[in-house]
Every structure is written in structure tokens, then in C-alpha cells.
């Protein structure tokens, strides 16, 4: 097959470019010859001799745009870096981006468009569990491949999804162990926004507190999404005097919750607070001064001090601006394209079935991940480390605790 390269056009440019492009074109031809498109793509995906097309599907508009912006920026950075290294199997990655518009049916519709019309080889996308649940049937029916970046409630494992965030037990259990040991916590107050992720997470947390740690849950509260009035809830918490407030409030409510907590005089001096819903992204809205001294459990913090992370943060800032911050999900999204690259190269093919098979060997690992070392488990989730970070006034966290590498367990026995 012919490559897209046109020698007549090159003739018009300088000699240097001519030489360069001929050699590039030779390299591509060589690759295409050793790995013919017909062999590495038997299912009719959008792959040519020098390009492979993938989809990015996040909300660019609507409420979720706040959170999903970072994820799609990280995915683009990873893809750019992969392309700079020569692409995957000699093919440069091209992106088709669609907007999920914070609307779950739209995620399903755009997934279908990407898989059926554009025939993309993989999709990096979704953020909320609701959007993933909406898109999932489409990916399973059309046999697509989705890399999903968010930490989530677990209880799911699809052949067509690779989960690059941590599932609930990887995030929750070690954080609770830490607070029980370190802060001698006995009584807990659980508060979250009212939807599936906080409710499932709290269920797991409650079982762990009551059955494993021998502690007591003195209150459990859910607020409607978007609610910004926490006065009454704060008074209720005050009445119960818990050792630890365990919080999973999200979105605009999250900001109101922390601002009002501070205004009510509940600060880290008097109260230990552990949250599973605050990353560097959220701090931007909440303000470091309102969070100072409180703790987050995540698997990644921007301040992590290792070579991988320093390079990643520098590259991210160079591409998206000096002021950008990187949260847990942004980092997990960054892993998606790299994990896909590793699996495709192991499979020697872009076919979804073969890529999935390669992913399930348990041998796909990244030593260059900003969070440290990650490995893909045959159950499609990542082995990951739980980290507790204490927030500082400047909006960055100091990591105060790191767990061992935790095996992902999306269906935890005794916690359902």
C-alpha cells in the first residue's frame, strides 16, 4: 500500500526537509512492510499504514466540565508524547474528540458514533459512574475499548473497559486504617453527596469501621447534589462530636461544605477530617486556606517527589500552562494511552480482542507512571498505592502515609 507521503510536495521544500521526510517516509514504509495493516487490524478499525485513530470522550460543557478538563488534557499530553516517540507499531495516533456535555445519554450516543462511524481503536473517556454506566452497553455491543480514569465505587468488571483509577477498597480501607491507628479514632461521622459513588463508598467504609476497626459510626448524612447550605448538618455533627469526619461531598457542594465548615469554626486544630473527594483540582475552587490540615486519601498527589512525576508535571505545565494543577484523576487519565500502547505492542495488533487478551496477562506494567509503579491486574484494574495527603495553604498536599501496592478487588467479599 502507498503511504500518504507525496514526493512532489517535498521537492518544493528545502533540501534538509526533503532528506528528513524521505527518511521518515522510508521508516514508515519499512514499518508498514514489517507490520502490514491487514495483519494488525483484522476488524476494520480506523488504521492506515501510518496512523491509528482513537477517541477522547469527556464533558467539555456542563457541570462536569470542571472535573473532566484535566483528564482530557492529560490524555492529549500522553498521546503527544507517544507520537513524539514514534507512535504505536509505527503508527501516529490521531484523535477524534467528542463532547459528552455532562449528559449521560449523550455519552452513549457519542460512544456509538466513535465506535461505529469513526471505528476508533480505543476510547479514553468518561468521568462519572453514571456516564460510564450509560456508555458501557455500547462498548460491549460494538466490542470497543474504553480506558476509564476515575476512582469509583467498584462492583464492575467489563471485558471492554480498563479501569485506570482505583476502585473503592483501594482508596477507602487503607485510609481508614491509617486514621484509626494514627489518630486513635473511635467514632466516625460519614457525609456525602446523594448518588451512587458516595453511597457505595460509605457502605464499604461503614462495614470496615464496624467490623474490622471496631469503631462506631455516629452519623451518616447525604446532601442533594449541588446543595450549598450546610449550616444544619454542621450543627448535627457538632452535637455528635465524632473523632473523624469522613467526607465524600462533590462538585459545587464540596466548596460550600469546606467554606462553611471553616466559617463554623471547625478547623483541623479541633477536628480530624478525612475526605475521598478532594484532589488538587477541587482545592482550586475550595481554597487552600479552607482545607489546611485536613486529609485526603488518593493514589496520586501533584507534590509527589519522584523523577517520573517531576517530568510529568513539567511536561503538563509546558503544554497546558504554568497555572495548571494536576489531580488524582488527571494522572490516572494520563496512564490510559500508555497502558494501551503497552498492551497493543505486547499483542502486536490493534484488534480489541487481542489487546484485551494482552491486558489480561497481568504483565502490562508502567515503570514511568507519575504515581510510581503500576501494573494491570487480569481483572482490568490497576494495582495501586493508597496515599494520605495533608493539605497546605498553597493548595498542595504533603504525603503523610503511603500503603504497600494494593491488589484491586472490585467485588470485595464482606463489604457488599
Amino acid at each position: 500500500m502507498m503511504t500518504k507521503h507525496n514526493p512532489f510536495r517535498c521537492a518544493r521544500t528545502t533540501l534538509m526537509t526533503l532528506v528528513a521526510s524521505v527518511s521518515v517516509s522510508l521508516a514508515l514504509t519499512a514499518n508498514a512492510a514489517s507490520l502490514p495493516t491487514a495483519e494488525i487490524n483484522t476488524t476494520g478499525l480506523a488504521i492506515t499504514d501510518d496512523t491509528v485513530t482513537v477517541g477522547i470522550l469527556h464533558s467539555l460543557t456542563g457541570t462536569m466540565a470542571i472535573s473532566e478538563t484535566g483528564a482530557q488534557e492529560a490524555e492529549k499530553l500522553a498521546i503527544k508524547q507517544i507520537n513524539d516517540m514514534g507512535g504505536i507499531l509505527g503508527r501516529k495516533i490521531e484523535i477524534i474528540q467528542e463532547d459528552g456535555a455532562s449528559d449521560w445519554p449523550t455519552f452513549a450516543e457519542k460512544s456509538r458514533k466513535l465506535l461505529v462511524r469513526d471505528k476508533v481503536a480505543a476510547v479514553f473517556g468518561c468521568w462519572t459512574s453514571a456516564s460510564r454506566k450509560a456508555a458501557l452497553p455500547v462498548f460491549e455491543k460494538e466490542n470497543g475499548l474504553l480506558y476509564y480514569p476515575t476512582f469509583y465505587e467498584g462492583l464492575e468488571q467489563s471485558k471492554n473497559v480498563i479501569y485506570t483509577g482505583q476502585e473503592a477498597t483501594q482508596q477507602i480501607l487503607d485510609g481508614l486504617n491509617w486514621v484509626a491507628k494514627e489518630k486513635k479514632a473511635k467514632t466516625y461521622y460519614l457525609i456525602g453527596s446523594d448518588y451512587i459513588w458516595p453511597r457505595t463508598s460509605m457502605k464499604i467504609a461503614r462495614k470496615h469501621i464496624e467490623n474490622v476497626l471496631g469503631g462506631k459510626v455516629v452519623g451518616e448524612q447525604y446532601k442533594p447534589l449541588g446543595d450549598t447550605q450546610f449550616g444544619s448538618v454542621i450543627n448535627k455533627i457538632r452535637l455528635k462530636k465524632p473523632d473523624v469526619i469522613y467526607a465524600a461531598v462533590v462538585g459545587g457542594s464540596n466548596v460550600a461544605w469546606f467554606k462553611q465548615l471553616k466559617a463554623a469554626g471547625i478547623t483541623s486544630k479541633k477536628q480530624t477530617l478525612l475526605t475521598i473527594s478532594v484532589t488538587e483540582d477541587e482545592v482550586l475552587g475550595i481554597g487552600g486556606e479552607n482545607l489546611e490540615g485536613f486529609y485526603s486519601i488518593m493514589k496520586y498527589f501533584q507534590s509527589q517527589d519522584n523523577e517520573n512525576n517531576k517530568a510529568f508535571v513539567a511536561a503538563f505545565k509546558e503544554m497546558w500552562g504554568e497555572d495548571s494543577v494536576i489531580g488524582d484523576v488527571t494522572q490516572a487519565a494520563y496512564l490510559g494511552p500508555w497502558l494501551w500502547k503497552a498492551a497493543v505492542e505486547k499483542a502486536g495488533s490493534f484488534d480489541v480482542d487481542k489487546v484485551v487478551e494482552a491486558s489480561e496477562t497481568g504483565e502490562i506494567e508502567l515503570t514511568t507512571a507519575p504515581e510510581g509503579y503500576v501494573k494491570l491486574h487480569p481483572n482490568h484494574h490497576l494495582w495501586s498505592v493508597a496515599r494520605v495527603g495533608r493539605w497546605n495553604k498553597d493548595g498542595q498536599a504533603t504525603v503523610v502515609y503511603e500503603s504497600e501496592l494494593i491488589e484491586p478487588d472490585p467485588f470485595p467479599a464482606g463489604y457488599q
Binding site: T61, I66, Y222, N235, V255, K262, A264
Partner: protein
């Protein structure tokens, strides 16, 4: 005794809970005031009300950022200044919207609904393009952070007190303007009889435009004040718009006094219920009660004359 609590502790909780109710009341009232003026005096349902609030909030954020960078010494005082600017920015935007859009649709009230909704989408997308999709918060002056402690066990949030005082000031100013000034007289005259007002020499178009601008300006003040309790994003306005409508409709669409009474009863019901049952259920009960009352009293708590 009393489940392990002393009378002192329970008293403190009662005091703080009482304040939480008043605080919610002031928030609801401040949100609804601008909408009530526009809806009540002009019959226009402004679906973009929340976005005018966001305009005020973003103005505050901008001023805070600029102050922090160029005049750090001014930081403790900028907030008062920001509220005034927010009023004028949102008011100017409202003036513009009335001039370009609303005035062409006065005879078609349903179309104003659609047009202002479209306007709200345009404004949301503009905020997203200008300020980015992420939520922002201005750095607040020290005196707005933390709490006032009259005793060891009572913490009264300073930002809540600030919003309460601001709401009182704005409400009195609106009442003065509406019922004591020449301009208010003209507004009320136009509301009661547009043709007659025109005949006696009142420029009714001008009255409409300034009323609309005033309503939007007050929304701007509300937006500025709410940066102390929540954050600002492109879609922040949509968080408030439902509560705002609830207050205005429940209070009787055309009555400022009704708006106050309605904000008070909704806030107290909500905060008391929330203390005893879960947050989500408190909202459900409040809304169900509201719907039931409106079924028997469709014109709201206080009905008054509306321009036909």
C-alpha cells in the same frame, strides 16, 4: 440526662441552629429579590437570573485577583468595593440585555422565558470561554473568615453574619427606592396602568429598562456575597435558580413582602427539618409542602395586582 448533653450544650446548638435558619433565609431572600422585582413589576420571567449572579461573582473574583497582585495593601477592604462594582457590572449587563432583547418581547411573555433561557446558555458559555471550566474562589479578606464566639461552645459564622447584614441593607434600600422615591412612584404607576402612565408623561420604556437593570444589579450583589459561602463556576447560576423561583412563586409573584415571608418560611422549614432528618428528605418534604400549599393557594402567600 438529655442523652448525655448538658443544658448549656443544647442551648448553644439551639442558638447556632437558629442562626443557620436565619442565614439560609438571608441567602434565599438576596437571591430572590432581584427576580421578584423584575417578575413582579414587569411580568418578565428572567431565566438568566442565575447567570447575572454569576456575573457578580466573577466580578468579585477578578477584583480579588487584581487587588492581590497589584494592591495587596487594599486586600482587607476590597470586598465592599467589589460588591458595589458587581452591582454595576451586572446592572449594566441587564441594561444591555433589556435593550437588545427583552424590550422586543414585552407583549409575548412566554417568548421572554425562552429568550432569557437562551441568554443564560450564552452567558454560561461565555464564562466558560473567558474564565475556564474550573470553579474559582476569590481570596477572602481575613475578617470574613472564621467565626464569632460569644461563648466557648457557640460559633457563629462570620460570612453568614455578613450576608445577613448585606441582605438587610439591600432589602431596605429596595423598599426605600420602591415606596419612597420618585423613581419608585413611576415604577409603581407603570405597573398599575402603563397607558395612563405614558399619558401623564412617564417614559415607560426607560422605567422598564432601569427596573430590569436594577433587578440584575441586585442579582450581581447576591453573586458577590455568595462567593463567601460557595464557589463560582460557569454553571453556578443553575444551582440557585430553582430555589430562587421557588421563593418568588411561593411568595406571590408580584409582592416584595410576599418574597420576604416566603424566603423566611422556606428557610426555617428546610433548616429545622434538616436538623432532624437527612438532607435529601428535608428537601423532599419542603417541596411537597410547597406544592400542596400552592395547590390550594395558586397565587402564592401574598397575591397583589399584576399588570395584565
Amino acid at each position: 440526662m438529655l442523652g448525655g448533653y448538658t443544658y448549656g450544650e443544647l442551648g448553644s446548638i439551639l442558638a447556632m441552629q437558629g442562626f443557620a435558619g436565619f442565614s439560609l433565609f438571608s441567602v434565599l431572600l438576596l437571591m430572590a429579590l432581584g427576580l421578584a422585582i423584575i417578575f413582579g413589576q414587569m411580568g418578565v420571567i428572567n431565566m438568566a437570573h442565575g447567570e447575572f449572579m454569576a456575573a457578580g461573582a466573577y466580578t468579585t473574583y477578578l477584583i480579588a485577583t487584581l487587588t492581590e497582585q497589584y494592591f495587596p495593601a487594599f486586600m482587607p477592604y476590597y470586598f465592599v468595593f467589589a460588591i458595589v462594582v458587581a452591582f454595576f457590572v451586572a446592572g449594566a449587563l441587564g441594561y444591555l440585555a433589556e435593550f437588545a432583547l427583552i424590550r422586543h418581547l414585552y407583549k409575548r411573555p412566554l417568548d421572554t422565558l425562552l429568550a432569557t433561557w437562551g441568554l443564560s446558555l450564552i452567558m454560561q458559555q461565555s464564562y466558560r470561554s473567558i474564565f475556564g471550566a474550573r470553579e474559582v474562589s476569590p481570596t477572602l479578606p481575613e475578617w470574613l473568615l472564621g467565626s464569632y464566639q460569644p461563648t466557648d461552645t457557640i460559633d457563629i459564622p462570620l460570612n453568614g453574619m455578613f450576608v445577613l447584614v448585606l441582605t438587610a441593607v439591600v432589602t431596605f434600600a429596595v423598599f426605600y427606592l420602591m415606596f419612597k422615591s420618585r423613581w419608585g412612584l413611576r415604577v409603581r404607576a407603570t405597573t398599575q396602568n402603563r397607558v395612563m402612565s405614558g399619558a401623564v408623561g412617564i417614559n415607560t420604556n426607560k422605567v422598564d429598562r432601569y427596573t430590569f437593570a436594577l433587578g440584575c444589579g441586585i442579582a450581581g450583589i447576591a453573586g458577590a456575597a455568595f462567593t463567601t459561602i460557595a464557589s463560582t463556576g460557569p454553571t453556578t447560576g443553575t444551582l440557585y435558580i430553582v430555589d430562587t423561583f421557588m421563593v418568588v412563586v411561593f411568595g406571590g409573584a408580584a409582592s416584595l413582602f410576599g418574597t420576604i415571608a416566603s424566603a423566611f418560611s422556606i428557610a426555617q422549614a428546610q433548616s429545622i427539618l434538616e436538623f432532624f432528618i437527612s438532607g435529601s428528605m428535608a428537601k423532599v418534604y419542603t417541596l411537597v409542602t410547597l406544592v400542596l400549599i400552592l395547590m390550594f393557594k395558586p397565587e402564592g402567600l401574598f397575591a397583589s395586582k399584576v399588570r395584565r
